[in-house]
């Protein structure tokens, strides 16, 4: 066994230019932009970007409401885009009892609005997450129903938080109450999922042959798995069924109808996981933008850091791990460090926003057709508060949102916001988790 420490994980530098001649790959799956779209209307994209351990709210919350809101320190990088920005205060998550395990609960409830079942066994149970509600409704229009991305490699094993399974922290997206949807953290793998792995094979007959081989392999697996389901006892079938439905998912994706237009990705194939946080986050940003641009998917979650993350950010000049420093007990030095980490995270989001705004699309920009939710499931990390959560929504949802305002809600469930956004995307859902209706005012001026 190779003993490599976390700091020594092979970090493949994303070398530009000299030394690594990486040809722009050809696609193996035919995915034209806006497949089958007869109208000129650009599709609405929805993405949730997450940061953990809470935010120093005094440097986040604008002091004024409405259109002329001030931009506090942490949100400063978004100032150039204030016309596309909704700052929302007053949204909350109810995460059940106050016993230990707060971070795990926060992670599990953020996109679901459901308190997770307290178990360390395999019987995890929470609820379907908002991104998957969207994916199930509109995901068939794109090759990938949704894309889950993350920047934190989970190497640690063992218990996560008193009495709760690690599954609740490893995934924030849930396809169903018991089906976690873990994110991909390796940019190279993401690239291959989006654009195919037949890179560098110039001969189309060879590519076709490989695709046919792959298809026949999948067929045989499907047949055998179905057969096996009948052979095992009823209680064991669900394990085999998990496999069968996954294979069906993949078959559908491969069979996705596209024209003959091939899409060349705008970015080079990454070599692997970059060494630093900023590089990693920005690479994920670029991949998601490429996926949106080529309409490979319209729904995504991007976890910049997992809940209760202990990642440190030496590029900021200090080596304190994130989670412990958020228990600052009001020590001004520690509070300052937390604020700087908050700013650092937000800058990566601002990088995404800036690039999205620079991509012309339809009658505007890609940003115009997006609804990007950036936030955390904890407001005050020192005391583990889940009210008045920090959340901003960037983008106009193709005209369905009227941003450029600070909206303050009376104690309202976060899931009401999600329900409203789903509605604006054309996904009509009665309820999500603990929602009580749709958050108002997002559309009026």
């Amino acid at each position: 066994m190779n003993f490599v420490t976390r700091r020594h994980i092979p970090r493949r530098s994303f070398l530009k230019g000299a030394g690594t001649a990486i040809a722009l790959p050809f696609l193996d799956a035919m995915v034209p932009a806006f497949a089958g779209a007869a109208t000129t209307k650009s599709p609405v994209r929805m993405a949730f970007m997450y940061v953990p351990n809470g935010i120093i709210m005094k440097d986040w919350t604008p002091t004024t409401e409405g259109r002329n809101f001030d931009i506090p320190r942490i949100l400063k990088p978004l100032e150039p885009f204030r016309e596309d920005l909704h700052v929302l205060t007053g949204l909350a998550h109810r995460t059940g009892d106050g016993a230990a395990g707060d971070h795990t609960r926060a992670s599990a409830t953020y996109l679901t609005g459901v308190g997770p079942k307290r178990t360390t066994s395999a019987d995890v149970e929470v609820g379907i997450s908002v991104d998957q509600v969207a994916a199930q409704a509109i995901g068939s229009k794109t090759r990938l129903p949704s894309l889950e991305l993350g920047c934190e490699i989970s190497r640690s094993v063992g218990s996560c938080d008193a009495g709760y399974s690690c599954a609740y922290v490893n995934s924030m997206s849930w396809r169903g109450p018991s089906t976690p949807n873990p994110p991909e953290t390796n940019p190279r793998q993401v690239f291959e999922r989006l654009f195919g792995s037949l890179a560098g094979i110039p001969d189309p007959t060879v590519r076709t042959r490989i695709e046919e081989d792959r298809k026949s392999v999948l067929d045989s697996v499907t047949n055998r798995t179905r057969q096996l389901m009948a052979e095992v006892g009823s209680a064991d079938r669900h394990k085999i069924d998990e496999y069968l439905s996954s294979i069906r998912d993949i078959e559908q994706r491969i069979a996705f109808p596209g024209g003959d237009r091939q899409v060349t990705p705008e970015i080079e194939k990454p070599a692997g996981i970059p060494p630093g946080f900023v590089e990693h986050a920005r690479l994920m940003n670029d991949l998601l933008l490429a996926a949106f641009r080529a309409d490979i998917t319209r729904v995504s979650t991007l976890i910049y850091a997992k809940e209760s993350s202990t990642r440190s950010y030496p590029e900021l000049g200090f080596s304190d791990p994130h989670h412990p420093v958020t228990h600052h007990r009001n020590d001004p030095d520690l509070v300052e460090k937390v604020t700087r980490i908050n700013c650092h995270h937000l800058e990566q989001f601002a990088d995404f926003v800036r690039k999205a705004k620079a991509i012309p699309e339809g009658d505007g920009t890609l940003l115009d057709h997006c609804m990007l939710v950036y936030g955390s499931s904890i407001s005050d990390g020192n005391n583990h508060i889940h009210e008045n959560l920090p959340v901003v929504v960037m983008g106009r949802g193709d005209g369905s949102l009227k941003p450029g305002r600070h909206l303050s809600y009376p104690e309202t469930p976060m899931t009401n916001l999600f329900l409203a956004l789903l509605d604006k995307m054309g996904v009509h859902t009665e309820k999500l988790g603990d929602s009580t209706g749709q958050a108002a005012h997002l559309t009026d001026v």
Partner: protein, 818 residues
């Protein structure tokens, strides 16, 4: 015949205890301590102990009885906040319960648990691919993390499949099949290793290193291999080829030093020496130097080391090292310049100059320097790699020489049977052969047909899952088939598929024979593949897998570099492997007076006389360490980044040594303000709340004393006599009144109840081997295993054999049972 031992032998006292109603024997105890919550009226957590007591015989409700026994024995019940029963009463009740259930399985027949279809976890996938096809690329390292429960990531219930994982299985199958048949097709790529904060020799900032990793400037490792600043890496090269190794070093030597060198070692030999000419600079800036070497190396794991030899030689005479420099030394910085009159007298500036003056004076009196270290190590390659499949792969795959159609069938049948870990049923291989034949037609290549056939095999559920089939209506237990037993055995001891020998024993029916089974177990333990028991069982059981991702505070422990970290891991690995390979006494895990050290780790522990970077067995008599609780790895994973925690260490012991984990803390416990520990109060005083508050004390009186006894080991495992200003008080008092002192006292306490440890280890090893959690109906088997260990001196192989021979291991139960 194996079952005769499991059938209850009705000895008189057993019978009496079993036949008398529980109410008579246990009623008073239950009433006093349990009925508050677990009465028929309250039924907290669904448990009605009044009903239990009212039964005619204690055997009527085994599950409840075993559960009560377990809860009482581990101290989990009564819960935190409730009064504890008198120790004498508790002990008596526990004894009576144990006598009642005895060591037998149920009176009429053996019981066993149900293991659902068991997906290969990542380690198992990697190992199985290696053994099946001779391809060792660790494809599963890119798969999503497996969920772990009961402390292990090989538990069938928790191993689910997501679409992401399925995609990866499919992609991996294609990649592996192509490498196996055609050989790898790799482009040169850089792999980069960063040294996060390079180790410095002596720092010029406020923190001084109090215990450097060397003895003195004239008594140290002159090769530099064990010195701070050296770099150590074990890395697996994918293929025989040329590789470029790039080393980026930094740091400097004092002005006036003689030139020095850096040596690059591969597998214990110097392959290149780089000159470091005069690196004097006026300041203490880092100046990166880059060194490169291009070499051809065979595929496989290699050890790469970068060292700076003779680092204390050639220094200016003022520094006091051996063989001082003969070069002229520029005059040192005169501190007085900071006291010269200045025009800038703003308050901040005066303070700045004062600090600079103090520093310069210190430097003048006790000169220090940054020292040389490695900051980055890159491996770029492979260049010009050997093309074609490896000999090993070809041997495993192509068993018929020609390319006849029949050969395709033979080849794939052979592989499928090995991959599915059983014999194939008639016609089973046909669909796979069909795919392979189409692929062969499409491409015109026999090998291509084989490769696609392999792809189909590797994504088949028969490969990815270990399935011990039970039919729809099955509720009773059945004995495993020989093939199923062989699989359980090999995944238990090797985390991989059965080898040819084991499969042959399964095929000819001889695995049923107790002697044959014993011989196989011994053979498998002696095989190098049994290192999986450390990699996957011990590293999770002892939690040392977490060592990888821990970051002890750099200011408090500047000595803790990655070389120390990897050395700690290696110590525990070798200790455990020694137990397995040489069939040691499992009690050595508690207090074995030996371990395995290299110079770096020995220096860290303060153990003299260990020189060189090789690990060797070291006798610990006369030192203050023994067993795994003296290992730096264990002591570090049970601490925080900045300080020790008796609570964490106590919890570690309760969970891993005694299998009696404490319940989670009550809600709203504020976080501990430990800033005063070591400065104005001892840690013990800061944790006084745990003793004073009755809500806390019921659990903490079990945990804290265990942790306090280890307080002489700091948060990275070095011995200390003082914590800050205060001498360490390592005394402890157990809930039953026994007192003990220090780590040796702790070990005596643990040793005194060695069956508790043996039982804990048995439970954990059993759960790991079964791939399911241990249930109440497994307890008789566990007690029986533990009772047999003393007869063979608690040998590790005995423990494994007893587990393998137990009914939980040899049987599978249908899921239909209650």
């Amino acid at each position: 015949m194996r079952y005769t031992s499991l059938i209850l032998v009705c000895v008189a006292p057993f019978c009496i205890a079993q036949s008398s109603p529980p109410g008579a024997t246990f009623g008073p105890f239950l009433a006093e301590n349990c009925y508050t919550c677990h009465s028929s009226k309250a039924k907290t957590a669904g448990l009605d102990l009044e009903a239990f007591a009212g039964r005619a015989s204690i055997l009527e409700d085994r599950a409840t009885g075993e559960s009560v026994l377990r809860m009482l024995k581990t101290g989990k019940m009564p819960p935190g906040g409730m009064l504890r029963p008198r120790e004498a009463d508790l002990a008596a009740v526990i004894k009576k319960l144990e006598d009642a259930f005895g060591t037998s399985a149920a009176v009429t027949k053996a019981v066993s648990g149900h293991v659902p279809p068991h997906r290969l976890n990542r380690a198992e996938y990697n190992n199985t691919i290696r053994d099946l096809l001779g391809v060792d690329i660790h494809a599963a390292d890119d798969f999503p993390q497996d969920d772990s429960i009961y402390g292990f990531d090989n538990i069938a219930d928790a191993l689910s499949i997501s679409p992401l994982l399925t995609e990866k299985y499919i992609a991996a199958a294609e990649k592996i099949a192509n490498i196996a048949v055609f050989g790898p097709e790799l482009q040169p790529e850089p792999v980069r290793f960063d040294v996060a904060v390079p180790r410095r020799m002596e720092t010029t900032n406020i923190v001084r290193i109090t215990k450097p990793a060397y003895n003195s400037m004239s008594n140290y490792d002159v090769t530099g291999l064990s010195q701070p600043g050296s770099y150590h890496l074990n890395y697996q090269l994918p293929v025989t080829a040329e590789y470029v190794f790039r080393i980026i070093g930094a740091g400097n030597r004092p002005a006036g030093s003689e030139p020095t060198h850096c040596t690059f070692w591969i597998d214990g030999k110097i392959v290149k020496t780089f000159d470091i000419p005069d690196v004097s600079l006026s300041g203490f800036e880092r100046r990166p130097d880059t060194w490169e070497a291009r070499l051809k190396l065979p595929a496989g794991t290699h050890e790469f080391v970068v060292a700076f030899p003779r680092q204390f030689e050639g220094l200016p005479p003022r520094y006091g090292g051996p063989n001082p420099s003969k070069l002229p030394e520029p005059p040192p910085l005169d501190p007085e310049r900071f006291r010269a009159p200045s025009t800038d007298n703003r308050p901040g500036k005066i303070e700045e100059r004062r600090i600079a003056y103090e520093r310069a004076k210190e430097q003048f009196a006790h000169p220090t320097w940054e020292g040389l270290s490695v900051t980055e190590f890159d491996i770029v390659g492979p260049y010009n790699h050997v093309k074609g499949a490896s000999k090993e792969s070809l041997q495993k795959i192509f068993i018929c020489g020609d390319q006849q159609p029949a050969c395709l069938r033979t080849t794939l049948s052979n592989l499928a049977a090995r991959a599915f870990r059983r014999s194939l049923v008639a016609g089973e291989i046909d669909p796979i052969v069909k795919i392979a034949e189409s692929a062969q037609r499409r491409s015109g290549s026999f090998e291509r047909g084989v490769a696609v056939g392999i792809q189909a095999i590797l994504v088949s559920p028969d490969f990815l899952f270990r399935i011990e089939k039970t039919s729809v209506s099955d509720t009773g237990p059945r004995r495993l088939t020989d093939y199923e037993l062989a699989s359980r055995l090999s995944y238990f001891l090797w985390s991989s598929m059965p080898d040819e020998g084991l499969m042959n024993r399964a095929a000819d029916g001889s695995l049923k024979n107790a002697d044959v089974l014993r011989a196989e177990v011994k053979r498998m333990l002696a095989d190098p593949k049994s290192r999986a028991l450390f990699d996957n069982f011990a590293s999770e059981w002892l939690e040392v897998r977490r060592l990888e991702s821990l970051n002890p505070d750099r200011d408090s422990f500047p000595d803790f570099d990655d070389y120390l970290r990897s050395s700690m891991q290696k110590e525990t690995e070798l200790f455990f492997e020694n137990l397995v390979r040489n069939d040691g006494n499992i009690l050595d895990l508690i207090d074995g007076k030996y371990t395995f050290l290299n110079e770096r780790l020995a220096a860290h522990y303060g153990i003299p006389g260990v020189r060189g970077k090789e690990f060797r067995r070291v006798d610990l008599s006369g030192t203050n360490r023994s067993g795994v609780l003296g290992h730096g790895s264990v002591l570090t994973v049970s601490s925080y980044a900045t300080r020790t925690s008796p609570v964490l260490r106590g919890k570690w012991i309760l969970e891993n040594i005694l299998n009696a984990p404490p319940p989670p803390p009550p809600p709203n416990v504020p976080s501990l303000d430990a800033t005063s520990a070591g400065t104005s109060a001892t840690l013990r005083q800061v944790l006084e709340q745990h003793r004073a508050n009755p809500v806390c004390s019921s659990c903490h009186t079990r945990m804290d004393p265990l942790g306090f006894s280890l307080e002489n080991y700091d948060a990275v495992g070095s011995w200390r006599d003082k914590d800050g200003k205060f001498p360490v008080d390592s005394s402890g008092v157990l809930p039953d009144g026994r007192t003990f002192q220090g780590p040796e006292g702790l070990k005596s306490v643990l040793r005194a109840d060695k069956d508790a440890f043996a039982s804990a280890l048995t439970s954990k090893l059993l759960a790991y081997g079964l791939g399911r959690g241990v249930e109440s109906f497994d307890q008789p088997a566990i007690r029986q295993i533990v009772s047999r260990l003393p007869a063979d001196d608690y040998r590790f192989s005995s423990l494994v054999l007893e587990i393998v021979n137990s009914s939980p291991f040899q049987m599978q139960r249908g899921a239909g049972a209650p």
